[in-house]
Amino acid sequence: MVIIYFNNEQKEDLQFLQELSFEVGSKIVQVSIDFFKGNYNPKLLQNVSTKLNLPQLKVERCVYGLSYLFTESSKLSLSKSDFLESINAISPTKEIEECLLESYQKNREEMRRILSEMSLKLPSIDSLQWRLDVQISSRRTSNEAKPVYLLKLKTSDNRTVWFQADYNELESITNQLEIALKESKSQHYKRIKKYIK
């Protein structure tokens, strides 16, 4: 059972939601979801606060508080009961509570995807293209027929690397990678996966 802990400041900011009608409250929740997805527009906050006749600072802090709520709950992948338990701390009205839960459940997967993009990682492989050539002659040798592979590897940080390999090397790395792949189906891996869960 995991709950999110709000500090006093955040509790105050989020309790602002209690003072609002359901419509207004849900609009603010929507703004904070968009904020999280990257559509942060300070002008939008200004417009929303003037339209709803609310002090802008309070609206802004409420949006930040809600973003914290959604970030933490997506990060921890909170279950429905844990989520409800966590927002109990700010004692929302029944309607706001439902609105928050719905937004959370609807957007959880996407928020987790965004969070994992932001996480630490090495550049990953985009594509590998290959071409098989036969080297016929060069300045020092002639009349030979040596097969040569030309390879182009693209990684996610937009790097393109060209290199060549001969048949034996290519075969050996293919075998190595097949062994690597088999590891994901091995007993040891399955055991670890079970233990960690």
Binding site: S74, K75, L76, S77, R112, L115, S116, M118, S119, L120, K121, L122, P123, S124, I125, L128, W130, L132, P147, Y149, L150, L151, L153, T155, V161, W162, F163, Q164, A165, D166, Y167, E169, L170, E171, S172, I173, T174, Q176, L177, E178, A180, L181, E183, S184, Y189, I192, K193, I196, K197
Partner: protein, 190 residues
């Protein structure tokens, strides 16, 4: 190292250019060679505007040719300085040029000349590691395997370059399939 008479002459022309401008000219020349600066910057430069443009062009093209030929011939800093001493160029400039050359030699060689030549890096060996991601500071309960692959490539001068990347199980499967096709292509040909 063979250089045409006009190129060698351009170095002696440096005497006509005031010393204060030498450093600026050198930085622009190396900037162009490292592909960090566009050639049009030379026309835009305030300090170089005071020099007669034909003179500037001759000196510029002479410098570029000398540097590229020196890199091609694999001269090191000292050999270049030695060569330049025989060419009637101002000694202070020779010092500046050789120092800048020594610093950027490797990089220019890699970015410019090796890509236009026809020696590609050779694949020598591979290292791999499989990890299981549990959580990160941004997201918890990830519970996914990840592979780290290390390819060792050898350059013409024998230096080994490591190419590192990561992939998940699906990407590794695609990679293995692609490589198997490549290996099969050769088997069916011979």
């Amino acid at each position: 190292m063979e250089l045409s008479k006009t190129n060698l002459n351009s170095l002696s022309l440096l005497k006509k250019i005031p010393k204060s401008v030498h450093q600026e000219l050198l930085s622009l020349v190396f900037g162009v060679l490292l592909q960090q600066v566009d050639e049009t910057e030379i026309e835009k430069s305030q300090t170089l505007k005071q020099i007669d443009s034909t003179l500037l062009k001759e000196v510029y093209s002479g410098l570029i040719t000398i540097i590229i030929q020196a890199i091609k011939a694999n001269l090191n800093e000292k050999s270049l300085a030695h060569f330049l001493k025989d060419t009637n160029s101002p000694t202070e400039f020779v010092g500046l040029l050789s120092t800048a050359y020594g610093k950027t030699f490797q990089k220019i060689r890699e970015t410019h000349l090796e890509t236009t030549g026809f020696y590609l890096k050779r694949l020598i060996s591979i290292n791999w590691r499989m990890d299981y991601i549990i959580k990160s500071n941004k997201i918890e309960q990830i519970d996914k395997p990840v592979y780290f692959i290390d390819l060792n490539l050898q350059k013409k001068d024998g230096q080994i370059e490591k190419l590192k990347f990561s992939c998940d199980t699906n990407q590794l499967q695609d990679l293995v399939t692609t490589l198997k096709d490549a290996v099969l292509a050769k088997k069916t040909q011979k």
